[in-house]
């Protein structure tokens, strides 16, 4: 299915809640994973013959493994508070993109098979059998959710549609109806070590090229080392940072920060990827297996600190899940986790976000900046959903908002906030997160970015903003793609460490 023609939404002065456009996005679905892609990561190759029974069975298993799923499927009262909160609904008007309606696709089947009311009076309580039509709706609409958790902020019970989407995708994978984009990437990360399939030697070449570029630019020998045993810091970053624009400019920034602070660091060819698409597909085993690569690399290299680069969902996995999955963290007393935790230096947070590292160094006066080097930029900051609503930085709740902004203000003179209600925990997803950053979903991505684009337009019009900083590889790739649809320059998105890189003073100490 080639991407169909579509109209880019018009940006207005304020965000209108659309009237319902039934089935507006009923044609939007990602490519189905091939037999080869599925079997490589342990899923059935194609839709199994007894998919209905298998899917119900898997739902039953998940209900007993995840309290979130069980409580969220029961607790919703259909109050409607979430109905106007999803960027995909706001951009498309398709009612099945309202969080509650997206949940109800699964909730209906749950009610039919797991609740007394749904078994006795299905029509009354909105219970449905798992027909092929419902299954296809799962496939379509659980791939029109970026798992950004904006709805969960506004739900009176904290119901998080991301949990429902993850369960939906997990069930689909378990019956051989998985999505090509995510499953192919998971295969690559196991086979080659990163999502982009960049093998070790190519990576070494790239890093050498980066060193040469920085030398040419600054006259200084900044190192971008790989697989250095005994380095203090292992940096784990999204593989897009190695070659994509504007991502690589932030990688350059990380290296300059470590150089200026005199911290020895290394990348790992084994763990050359911070992203973890196991989370997107809601599969605990994949999530864990992908995360364990980082643990193994850390043990092999003997590093004291583990730092994560600019990547939204990777930071969620690292901050919230790594201690659980791999023992990267503190406070454990079981042998598995202690083996690693005893190696780490607990004067530092484990793992740490690169922004925490940089801000800490700035506060200690270890970095010098020429802020005027960023004067051609008028900057705003886009909070990435997984950082904003599923993680933290620093010691205080909300540090994930303050620390990146503090860094920006320390390295640039012109900074403006986007409108309240579109930033901090109410931030709008870029429209490309959670495993939908694939070209066949372009219409969804363009329309889903509309709320963010509208907020951006306001600061562009009012303050002349020409640079939207963000700390997520997916946000950077997504905005680079969709900005032109809204008549913006694709080059106006970049990383926080790109700004750091521009302003940092090296060598003349």
């Amino acid at each position: 299915m080639a991407a169909a023609e579509f109209t880019t939404p018009e940006l207005k002065d304020h965000l209108d809640i659309p009237s319902l456009q039934r089935d507006a996005m009923a044609e939007s679905k990602p490519y189905v994973a091939s037999d080869k892609i599925n079997t490589a990561i342990g899923f059935p190759g194609e839709l199994v013959p007894d998919w209905e029974a298998k899917a119900i069975g898997r739902l039953g298993e998940l209900l007993n493994k995840y309290r979130s799923l069980k409580v969220y499927l029961d607790a919703c009262v259909h109050c409607g508070a979430c109905t106007d909160k999803c960027h995909y609904f706001l951009g498309t008007g398709d009612p099945k993109n309202m969080p509650v309606a997206r949940q109800d696709l699964l909730r209906g089947v749950y009610r039919r098979h797991f609740t007394l009311a749904g078994k006795l009076f299905p029509k009354l309580v909105g219970a449905t059998d798992l027909t092929r039509e419902v299954l296809d709706d799962w496939y379509k609409y659980y791939h029109q959710c970026s798992e950004c958790r904006r709805c969960s902020v506004f739900c009176p019970y904290g119901i998080d549609t991301a949990e429902i989407t993850m369960a939906g995708r997990e069930i689909l994978d378990s019956i051989g109806y998985g999505q090509k984009y995510s499953n192919e990437i998971i295969g690559k990360v196991h086979k080659i070590g990163n999502n982009l399939g960049l093998p070790g030697p190519a990576l070494a070449d790239t890093l050498q090229g980066v060193e040469e570029d920085v030398k040419e630019d600054t006259g200084i020998d900044v190192r971008y080392p790989m697989d250095v045993k005994g380095a203090e810091v292992l940096l784990v970053t999204p593989s897009a940072d190695f070659f994509a624009e504007p991502h690589i400019d932030s990688l350059i920034g990380y290296g300059k920060v470590f150089h200026a602070a005199g911290i020895s660091w290394t990348l790992s060819s084994k763990a050359s990827e911070a992203g973890n698409f196991g989370m997107f597909i809601g599969n605990y085993e994949q999530l864990r297996k992908i995360a364990l690569r980082i643990r193994e690399a850390a043990l092999e290299l003997g590093v004291k600190r583990i730092v994560v680069g600019e990547c939204g969902h990777a930071w969620r996995v690292a901050y919230s899940f790594w201690n659980t999955l791999t023992g990267i963290g503190a406070g454990a007393n079981d042998p598995f986790a202690v083996q690693l935790q005893s190696q780490l230096d607990h004067r530092y947070k484990q793992p740490a976000h690169i922004c925490e590292v940089t801000w800490d160094l700035i506060q200690r006066g270890a970095l010098k900046f020429d802020k005027s080097a960023n004067d051609q930029r008028i900057v705003t900051f886009h909070d990435s959903c997984n950082v904003a609503r599923a993680s933290r930085m620093g010691d205080m709740p909300g540090g994930q908002f303050e620390i990146p902004r503090n860094i920006i203000r320390a390295v640039a003179n012109n900074y403006f906030e986007m409108a309240p209600g579109t930033t901090h925990e109410a931030t709008f997803c870029c429209g490309g997160g959670g495993g939908v950053l694939t070209d066949e979903l372009l219409e969804l991505r363009v329309k889903g970015s509309m709320p963010r684009m509208g907020a951006l337009k306001q600061v562009v019009d009012q303050h002349g903003v020409n640079f939207m900083a963000t700390i997520c590889a997916i946000c950077k790739a997504q905005f680079t793609k969709v900005l032109p649809y809204y008549k913006f320059n694709r080059g106006m998105v970049g990383g926080v460490h790109q700004l750091v890189s521009t302003a940092i003073q090296l060598g003349d100490k």
């Binding site: 809640i17 009237s19 209900l63 493994k65 995840y66 309290r67 979130s68 069980k70 409580v71 029961d74 607790a75 919703c76 009262v77 259909h78 109050c79 409607g80 508070a81 109905t83 106007d84 909160k85 009612p95 309202m98 509650v100 309606a101 109800d104 609740t115 009311a117 009076f121 029509k123 009354l124 309580v125 909105g126 958790r149 969960s152 902020v153 506004f154 739900c155 009176p156 019970y157 904290g158 998080d160 949990e163 605990y284 901050y319 919230s320 899940f321 201690n323 659980t324 963290g329 503190a330 406070g331 079981d334 793992p351 599923a390 933290r392 205080m396 709740p397 909300g398 994930q400 925990e425």
Partner: protein
Amino acid sequence: MSAATIFFAVLFYAATAILVAGLAFKIADYARTPAPLKIPTTPAPTSTGGVVLRMLREVALFESLFKSNLWIWAFGILFHGALLLVLLRHLRYFTEPVWFWVGWVQPFGLYAGFAMVAGLLGLWGRRFVVERIRYISTPSDHLMLALLAGIGASGLGMKFLMHTDIVAVKAFFLGLMRFDVQPLPADIGLYVHLTLVALLMIIFPFSKLLHAPGVFFSPSRNQADDPREKRHLAPWAAELEKN
């Protein structure tokens, strides 16, 4: 002893048993099911004390709903607040002597009866007027509001239109509590009110009314934000480490 008295006595014993056993089963089920990953919606409190405060604000003030939609919040808090006062007012039918503070609540509980119905009608109106909410509403969503509004209206009806012998009603319920069934006044308004209340008690553990216990078990609200400081491991996830 009239047949109606026996019917309502049996009905309320059964309804109470179903409500208590059903809720106990659901709560035990929620408590037993592990939450394998740390998923508080951030920014979140970093300590247990902070989580208790967050939950209190959520349950008493509907904090998230306030941020979300002022109309739903206003009707919702009007209904729930009024329902609480009405329930407290009704404690006088189950206590002898009546606790002193239940006496204070009486006049407020009376006005709350109207506020409760008003809140319900507001919430119900949104199910017709707002297109998005009309789309997501199931027949049971409407029936639940009809049931609650019916309880409120029949209760107010007995206070203001067709009085019933509340002394006898109290004797009936105190009798039930002591397994000594007393005659129930033969009033149609009372029969309607009590039937609807019993119905509500019976469907509570099988319906969306589970949001009441559910909110306390919501991992996005009841977890502390401390994953780097403490290792959080579900039993089934720990099994994976033994391989």
